[in-house]
Structures are given as C-alpha cells and as structure tokens.
Symmetry: C2
Subunit: 459 residues, 2 copies
C-alpha cells in the first residue's frame, strides 16, 4: 500500500503542482480587511478539496475571531490511532508589492521554484499534506485516522483556533499532532523543531499636541510625539541588544548543554546569515552564539513606524500623533501576560510630560518546548531520511506558532513540528518562493510518515 501511494504521488506530480498553484492564486491576506472575502474563499476552496477525498468538514466562526477555523476528519477505522495535522490558510500581506519580480498572487515557476505569497508559508506545506492523503486514498489507505485543523489567523496572531481547541478539547482528542508550519535549515537539512519562541506584539500610539503645529512657532516648547516615541523605543533595547524592560529576563531558561552542543555552527554561519539577510553586518547580543540568539534569546524589533509628514520635500510640522508597531519574541519560560504590564509601566516612565503613549496589545503567544521522545518523531525522522536522503536535525524555531502551545495544552498529545520549505524561501518578504522538488519529496515524506506511525495510539 505504501508503494502504491508513492507511485501515485510520482505519477500525479503535474496535478499536485496545479492544485498548489490554484490555492496560491487566492489572496488570503488575513491582516487586511479588503481581503476578508478572499480569506473565506480560501477556506471554502480547501473544504471542497478535502471533501472530495472523503473528509467530513466544518468551518466555524469563533466568537471574537475574524476568520473561521477549518476542521476536517477522515475516519478510516475506529481501532486505528489518529494523527492531527495543523496548518493555516491565511498569508502575510504582499507589500511592498513593487519589489516582487512577478505578481504575488500569480504563481510563477523559475528555476524549479514557485514564486507567490504563501508558497512557503503555509500553502506549500498543507497542500503537500492534503495531496499525500489523496494519494494514500488511491492506494487503499491511509493507515491512520486523520484530522486537519487549518486556521485563518496565524499571520495576525489571532486566537480563534486557540479558543476552538480549548473549547472542544475532548472531542478533538488525538494520538499525535503534526504542527506543519516549519521548514528546512540553512544547511539544507530537514529539521524537527523542539522549541518555539513566543511573541508579544504591541502598538504604541503617541499623542502630543491636539493639532499639528508649526515648528517655527512652537519648536522649543511643544511636545513632539515622534521625538518621544524615538526616545521610548531607543530606551527599550540597548545598542548591545539587551532589552531593558524590568524583569524581562527573569524567566528566561538556559538551553540544555545538549542543545547548545547541537547548535554549534562553524564561523561561516555568520556569513550565511549575512547573505540570507543581505546585511553588511549582523547585530544583537554579541556574547551569545548566533543560533542561540535566533532560538533561545528573546528579542525586540520595531516592525513599523509612522507619523507626521512623509511625502516628498519639507513640511515643518510638529505632528499631533505618531505610531509604532513593536514585538518581543519570547523564549521558555517567559509569559507575555507577565511582560505586558511591566512594559506598559516602563513606557509610561520613559515618555515625556506632554506626550501620552498608549500600549495596545495586538497579539501574544507563549513560547513552547516540544520533546522528541515519541513514536511520531521517530516516524518523521525516518520518513524525512527516506524522502530527502538526510536525517532531520533537532532545532528550535525563532518564530512563533501561536497555536502550538494551545494544541499542546488542550490536546496533551505528543507533537512533531516540522515542514518542507527551504531556508531561503523568504516567507514574509517579497518574492516568497518554494522549491517544487521539496514539495514533491515532501508529499512522499508525508506518505511514508503516515505508514510508519504505529497502529497502536497513545490515548
């Protein structure tokens, strides 16, 4: 049955590509209200496709959520265990659109890679899983009961799926969870992620004078929200990369010696990072190795800032308002619920008398630790090695998968976190891309993975 499924996958490569491209044409940008209908259309497109291969599906609008949760169940045999696969059908905004070589929602193949927003994050991953199930069906499988949980709010740190799994924890009981939103390492190896950073994402809104002012008349006496916002942001993190929010590092857990050993990289890794980021120099906490900074150290980055006159030429205005978007990546055992009030208090102290700064939380996810001592991890290791010729490395991820901790806590099942896209797939940048070779081998890997799972479950 395994071999028949693999054969079907090889024969179906062209159709697999077409199916992926079809989903990539749907601009399911969850952050922007004008794409709301497209996001929902993407969910319905997946529903139609999953039902075609035998899944029972539901699309649920969760109270407080913006985009619905897709659940799809395939019950093969009640005696078999169940694998739950997590993915998301929403994508990042495409801007700056002018930096794309080809339009972000017209998938285009160049040098064996498909260029499109969402190609790597996450459509390339979840379409490989759906196709893998489809080929297993053709071969009389799959050998395991399946459940897809595919959300539409991953890129906006939404909480709909978190609520959904907590509220439905009992009926969502599962033997294993595959968090399928990761990718390969810079060295070209597949990876199993044993830890994820969390995030606390806030918007700082500064209000100074009630009206825009002429800096010639009032410069020297009027508060300026842009100057103050720069003061505050500058003070939140030193030039040494050290974050100054009181208590921020109190709960940071040192990685194990075994992890630190595994994360050693040759000196050229710095050059690799410079090339991948197209930076002349790296920055951050110089006293920590690079991978430790990416995986096990918290960070603070400004993602956007706007205020005043930003057109061509000069306008001597003291603006009334200014805004900044800032996030902190968090590591085990930091808790965004503890950090937010400290941040608010600190920002109030850092401000100036004439400027009020509101700190508004836009998203929060706790960091997550995942073990590798379970049958699903072993099956994934073997399947990757068979399909790609390389065993996965144990890694952490610097990124947050908001739902990972919810899945872990609500379902209490062994988790595997991994994925297919290559390291330079530029998931949130212009010209996001995805190797079709990874896609095809990935479908094989997933078929092998399902057939390698034990027929006895964990629950």
């Amino acid at each position: 049955m395994l071999n028949e499924a693999l054969l079907a996958a090889r024969e179906g490569v062209a159709q697999s590509d077409e199916d992926l491209f079809e989903e990539l044409r749907i601009p399911s940008v969850s952050a922007l209200p004008e794409y709301r209908e497209d996001v929902r259309r993407n969910a319905r497109w997946l529903i139609e496709r999953l039902e075609r291969i035998g899944f029972k599906t539901s699309l649920t609008d969760v109270a407080g959520g913006r985009h619905p949760v897709l659940q799809a169940d395939l019950d093969v045999d009640p005696k078999l265990p169940r694998l739950t696969i997590y993915g998301h059908y929403d994508v990042q905004p495409a801007d700056p659109v002018e930096l794309w070589t080809t339009p972000p929602f017209e998938p285009t193949v160049r040098d064996g890679r498909v260029f499109a927003r969402g190609a790597a994050d996450n459509k390339g991953n979840h379409m490989a899983a759906i196709k893998a199930v489809e080929f297993c069906r053709k071969a009389g499988g799959p050998p395991v009961n399946l459940r897809f949980l595919i959300e539409g709010e991953e890129e906006i740190t939404g909480e709909a799926l978190g609520h959904y799994v907590r509220e439905n924890a009992e009926r969502l009981a599962t033997d294993w969870v595959l968090v399928w939103d990761g990718g390969f390492g810079e060295d070209g190896s597949p990876s199993l992620t044993l830890g994820l950073r969390g995030i606390l994402y806030v918007q700082l809104e500064a209000v100074g004078p009630g009206i825009d002012l002429h800096s010639g008349v009032y410069g020297g006496v009027a508060p300026n929200p842009l100057n103050t916002l720069a003061h505050v942001i500058s003070s939140l993190k030193g030039r040494d990369g050290r974050i100054t929010i009181p208590g921020f590092y109190d709960r940071v857990r040192r990685p194990t010696d075994a992890e630190l050993e595994q994360w050693r990289r040759p000196a050229e890794y710095a050059e690799t990072l410079k090339r991948l980021t197209q930076s002349e120099s790296l920055e951050g906490e110089a006293e920590y190795p690079l991978l430790v900074r990416q995986w096990a150290r918290p960070t603070l980055d400004v993602h956007g800032m706007m205020g005043g006159f930003t057109g061509e030429g000069v306008k001597t205005v003291i603006p009334s308002r200014a805004m900044a978007k800032v996030s902190m990546r968090l590591v085990p055992d930091q808790d965004p619920k503890e950090i937010l009030p400290n941040l608010k208090k600190y920002v109030a102290e850092l401000g100036t008398r004439g400027v009020k700064i509101e700190v508004r939380q836009l998203g929060a996810t706790r960091p997550c630790l995942i073990g590798a001592d379970n049958a699903a991890a072993a099956a994934a290791m073997d399947a990757f090695e068979a399909a790609f010729g390389r065993k996965p490395r144990f890694v952490r991820s610097g990124g947050s998968i908001p739902v990972a901790i919810d899945l872990q806590e609500a379902l209490n099942a062994p988790m595997v976190s991994s994925g297919l896209p290559e390291a330079d797939s530029a998931p949130h940048s212009p010209n996001e891309r995805y190797s079709l070779d990874h896609y095809h081998r990935g479908i094989e890997m997933l078929i092998r993975f399902m057939y390698a799972l034990p027929t006895q479950g964990t629950c």
Copy 2:
C-alpha cells in the same frame, strides 16, 4: 490722498474679500509635484492682477529652482524712494485633509474668519498689500515707488529667490524692504520682528538588510533600521531639550538684556501656549523662559517618520529601510553650513554596525537679526497703531523666512518684518484661518504705512 485711499479701501471691502478668496481657491502647494501647474497658475493670477493696477511684471524661472520668482515694479516718480515688499504665493500641503472642517481650497467664512490653506500664510498678507496699492492708485498714489518680490518656494525652503536677489542685487536696489510674512502676537498686539530663526532641514535614510525579513527567523541577529533610527533620533536631543550634536551651541548668541526684559511674560503665558498647542504639558529646556525657547534657542524636531508595516494589525517584519525628516531651528549666529558636517559625523557615530544612514539636506537658512532704528520701522509702528489701536511689540520669530537673510545681504536696505494674521491662525495645520477684520484693518495699515514713509530715500 491718504484719506481718499482709506475711503476707497472701506468702500471696497466686499471686493477685497472676493479677491482674496479667488486666490485661496488656487491650491499652490509647492511641496507636491502634482500641484506644480497650480503653483504656476497662482503666479500668473498675481501677475494679471498686478498688471491691472499698473505694475510692470516678470516671472523668472531660476536655474535649480522649481517655481518661478515674481517681480512687479510700479514706478511712480524716479525722485521718490522705493519700498520692496516680500511675500510668497506657495502654500503648505493641506494634509491631513480629513481634519479640515471645510475643504482646504474652498475658502469658507465662519465667525468673521476665512478658513483655507494659505489664508494666513501668506495670501492674506500679500493680498492686503496688493489691495492697499490698488486703493492708493484710485486716490492718485501711491506716494512711493514700489516693488513686489513674491516667490513660490517659501514652504519648501527653496533657493530660487535667494539666487535671484543676489544675481540682480544692483538693479533691485531699494530704500526699504518690508518682509510681509509675519503675524500678530498671542496677546493680540501687532509685532515687528527683530530676529528670525534659521533652519537646517534634513532627511535621514536608514538602510539595514537588503530585503524585508521575518523577525521570528532573524530577530536577534539582523540589523533593524527602525530600531537604529530611533536610537539616533533619541540621541540627538536629550529629554531636557538639549541638543547633543558636537559644537551645536558654540555660536548661539545670548539675546540682549533689553530683549530679555521685553520678552518677559506672566505665568499665564504657559497656559496660553498649552491652549494654542492643545497640549497637556509643554516641553523643552526648562531653564529658559518660554519665549526665549521660541525665539532665541535652537531646537530639533522630527517632522515625519516612516518605515516597515504601518497598516492595520500585525506583520512581523524587520524592514529593510526607514526614513525620518528632522529639522533644527537655528538662532544667531549659528550657521547651517557649519552644523551639517558635524551632524553627519555624529549620526554616523550614533548608528549601529548593520545600518547605513544617509543624511540628506533638504533645506537650510541662516538665522537673521533685524534692527528697528530706521524710518520704515517708525512708519510701520505708527500705521499699526492707527489701524489697530495698538502699537506693535518688538519680537523675534521662531520661524525661518529663508529669503530674509538673502534680502538683507543682497539689498543692504533697512528691513521691517511683520504681518497681519492673528496668533491662532494655524498656518501649517488643518483649518488654517485668517480674521477678515485683520485683513481690512491691515489694508488700512499698509496705506497709512506707505503715506508715512519719508519722501527721501536711504540710498
């Protein structure tokens, strides 16, 4: 002749209003390329109007300039002296347009004030001067030769008029210069400006990674141009209002004791400023009185800042680029030519390794000191008192009139700097407005001023 001119002015009030409104309907925004033709149309509109009352005119495109210089001469009698009146026909951008109660280029009268972009700065001033001459003509005057120099680049710190007056200094010889771009004081008194702050306006352009990056993957190692720009801007000025650019204060001249005496204000002046700026608290160098900070202390303000993702919701991007617009108001005897290289060197020191910051000068004007011991100043004092019932106070201006220093140096004639708009006319803000009572009395004041000038010139 004086009384006939004043009578004509009073009888012509309705037409004076109509003429002002007609000019206010022209959106002569010099900063924005899409208004280029409107700026020129405004110049031609003034030409037509000045020629109608007997002026010989020229419109000159100066090499390197963006908008033409308008010169208009009225030669009454070669034996009489000549008064040169300076103004500008360009206006600030209207944005944020959504904060205007009525459209910025549809002049609307409410409570005796006309609301429109340019109403106060500078159309309300120069139209009063043009109307004053027109009424003098009707009454057989004016009693002095006249010249208007009206530029189209005041709001973009352009250099066209500066070049023009230096290149044509000899044939532009004049007995007095009236720099007619000021306004009334907060106490409701007219004012003669005896000093103007200069300005150095720069754009900081920060480039970090060559592409936008995912902060989950690269946060902790990638340079972030927004964080760095915040560091740099924060470092340029302390929370105490003190600017830290090396050598910045070296040439700052202390105002005279007589000036400091005249600039004393009661404690309520702070409340007045809070009301005018709609601020809960004032900021700046606490050790200096408020008016000294507005008139005789240099400042540094951020006028605009932009970078990264500024839409609704979250995007966890480390942006490749960020931009800030910053200006320093300068006081006698600071020189922007000296300060710019110090600023560039300092910004390079303040930056971080992975971020390149370019400092691009967008405008520079030296500060200016003006005396009051000349016949034109005396004539202006009397004319203001007769028309408004109040003698002007000697003040300085916190704003820059780029051409004032050029006029002073090239023409070497006694200068009077003043104007008509009330203090809360919001010249660079939404809902710019101008009292029609000031406009009507201002026309009278200007008629009286011309008749009070001596018939013997200075050159």
